[in-house]
Symmetry: C2
Subunit: 234 residues, 2 copies
DNA sequence: TGCAGGCCTATTGTTGACAAAATAGCCTTG
DNA sequence: CAAGGCTATTTTGTCAACAATAGGCCTGCA
């Protein structure tokens, strides 16, 4: 299930379909996965010879992949020195969440306007399934369900650039944080209640309400993170 | 002046300071400039041998530069076929403006909270200079002044990721459009009045009002574009 | 005459070698 | 003993040649 959701959430890094994958594309995806999974920790240097050897390729495609990640803002480069995985300070993580709040709020509003009746019905069914799964509070299932819910609303906005930003760099950054920080997910019942209200607002085509509820939902997550981050490390 | 503003607005594509520029960095910037200036039109194919020759380098650095632009979403690639400059349909341009409206509105709200008194004063001085320049309605001066105003507010938000998104890919896309489409700038007096109201709201630390005014300001620009785009080309 | 199949050329993908720059360690000197 | 410079090594930047794929072209057959 996690795999499915990961694929759903990585459309911008997915290469062309079938076997039209080039080595640089594969390496690019592997690097994203490595960074997000914590295999390449924040701030770690990416040694071209070593990583190329570990990934079984030469430096050419690796360098192209690094340049792609640079465009996605997952790594920072310095000429003649090398590339390092970006480091997110707590303050910057908070800033990312602020941007996400604004954009996903917008997505919820647009989704209320543009989602088809069928998509709205599917959203309701998804929540019903989550409700059934809630007793077996498997952490990962909860997280996957959370992604799935947000992803559907983002897609429902119908705004291509909004979708690309939210499922692209912003999502990778948040995904990266999830591994390094302690779990700060809300109690599943609370998250589900939030989701239910948002879905109801969308079903009633009340964009303003949907936006407000979504912003609150994400803002709460941001505040939970801030609470659990008392120590400040510049 | 145009040069100054362009530099101000391209922090993410600026390479390391001084002569620590690598060829791939230079080529990357040249490609962005070529796309934005219309030298490489929307949808045009980027032939690696030809472009490499024209830019006086080999294919290696060029390919890295293309991969960087791919991350910035300025080009789209297809394996074994090549890279093409992205084409913005009118609908997509409208979507970009919608995202910009949300993010710059957020920037105005944050700027009202975070800008120092000195920065607020400078913003006022900037507008005073624009007011003086308004009789000599040099189109380019107006456009540069517009950029300068928006740029200062974006920077004033203090949110690094907001700044990167707005001055990075979103800005390049809008810049790209400006060249291909007919000028749809508002009358300078109207733009200046809008700017003045926004600056006043920021000076009074009224974030909500600043956000609302900024959103309206950008929304008006979006509607002007939509009006002048009756023909639909998929 | 139309279509199908295979060849052919041009372009992209990849590799390894070479050049240049930066860092680290060592030696010298005050 | 510390500080500064020099050298050596490692790493990054660049290039040109080689391999592989795609799309067009030509021919042959129905």
């Amino acid at each position: 299930m996690a795999k499915i959701v990961d694929n759903l959430w990585s459309p911008t890094t997915d290469p062309a379909p079938s076997d039209h994958r080039t080595i640089a594309d594969r390496v690019s995806q592997q690097l994203v996965d490595a960074i997000v999974s914590g295999d390449l920790p924040q701030g770690s240097k990416i040694s071209e010879p070593e990583v190329a050897r570990r990934l079984g390729t030469s430096r050419g495609p690796l360098r192209e992949a690094i340049r792609r990640l640079e465009g996605l803002r997952l790594v920072q480069r310095q000429a003649h020195v090398g590339a390092r995985v970006i480091t997110l300070s707590h303050r910057e993580l908070d800033e990312v969440y602020s941007v996400r709040e604004a954009l996903e709020g917008m997505a919820a509003r647009l989704a209320a306007q543009h989602m088809s009746e069928e998509e709205v019905a599917e959203l309701g069914e998804l929540l019903a399934r989550h409700e059934l799964m809630i007793e077996q509070d498997h952490d990962y299932v909860q997280a996957a369900g959370d992604y799935d819910f947000h992803y559907r609303i983002i897609r429902g906005s119908g705004n291509r650039w909004l979708i690309e930003l939210l499922t692209g760099e912003l999502y990778h950054l948040i995904r990266m944080y999830r591994l390094t920080a302690t779990r700060s997910a809300p109690r599943p019942e609370r998250a589900l209640a939030d989701h239910r209200r948002i879905a109801d607002a969308i079903a009633e085509r009340d964009g303003e309400l949907a936006e407000m509820l979504m912003r609150r939902h994400i803002s709460a997550a941001r505040q939970r993170i801030a609470q659990r981050m008392p120590e400040e490390s510049p």
